[in-house]
Subunit: 143 residues, 2 copies
Amino acid sequence: MADEPNTGLLLYIPYRWLENRVFAAMTEAGYDITTAQMKLMQRVGPEGTRLTDLAEQAQVTKQTGGFLVDQLEKGGWVERVPDPTDKRARLVCLSDKAKEAIPVAEAAVAQAEAEWQAHLGKQGMAQLRHALTRLREITDPYA
Amino acid sequence: MADEPNTGLLLYIPYRWLENRVFAAMTEAGYDITTAQMKLMQRVGPEGTRLTDLAEQAQVTKQTGGFLVDQLEKGGWVERVPDPTDKRARLVCLSDKAKEAIPVAEAAVAQAEAEWQAHLGKQGMAQLRHALTRLREITDPYA
DNA sequence: ACACTTAGTCAGTGCATCTGACCAAATACG
DNA sequence: CGTATTTGGTCAGATGCACTGACTAAGTGT
């Protein structure tokens, strides 16, 4: 089906690799969290974020988002607090545990990116990020 | 958790977008197949491929691979034929239906990539592919 | 006030993935 | 040659994540 690998596959390979790296780092540091949970949690803002917004940004249905927030809540990563401005809504906020864990994840990402930069060269890495950022303009409904 | 989006997210966004595009094109053309099935099927070689190899290349366990091949077989995409050189093994081969469908998927990919090229410029696209190909060297156990 | 939209939940389903246990054929080695 | 190990694949069971559909409750607009 493919002699020249399509760009999708080329994107997927390093993505998956990075995801596994971060997941492994978190596990090793004793944090029990899944990639889907991380993906959602990444989107939680400093003042808290509504479930609907979270789900939309992570490109899942609000049901799926709700399910993930349930897991995150059980794991002590987030809390749901009432939104003072809207009685229907609740804000998902990061717990202290989550705030502690963030540097661990960030360090794993940083290390992986450093390895990539070492391989591609500083300029190559910058070009890659630039191209991807531009691509985001036409592929991310949330850009 | 992120002010500057990490490279993983940047990779994921266009990947997911492309996957959705291709999936939608297949669905519209009347082909009923899932992305996971496509991912596996992509790896089937012209002479057929062993389940174990498929699973390994797609980075799933052989159990998962077997499950996906079951689905593909039910959908009439592939057949399992005995491997003449090894009585334990069976080769997964593409059916005529699959061979027909490939151009549809390829056209969808080509169109999406053309849109990307229009946005990034010919040179930008070439640089992107080049960087990703180089990255594959250190992130793909199958490079 | 009444209709409509928005925030979120509940119930049910299916797909993709994993681990662990297992069998049978092929290969390696003493 | 015969046993031990590796390799190809399946079965059984469980979990995670995603979906659709139907619903409640609160806010919004005319």
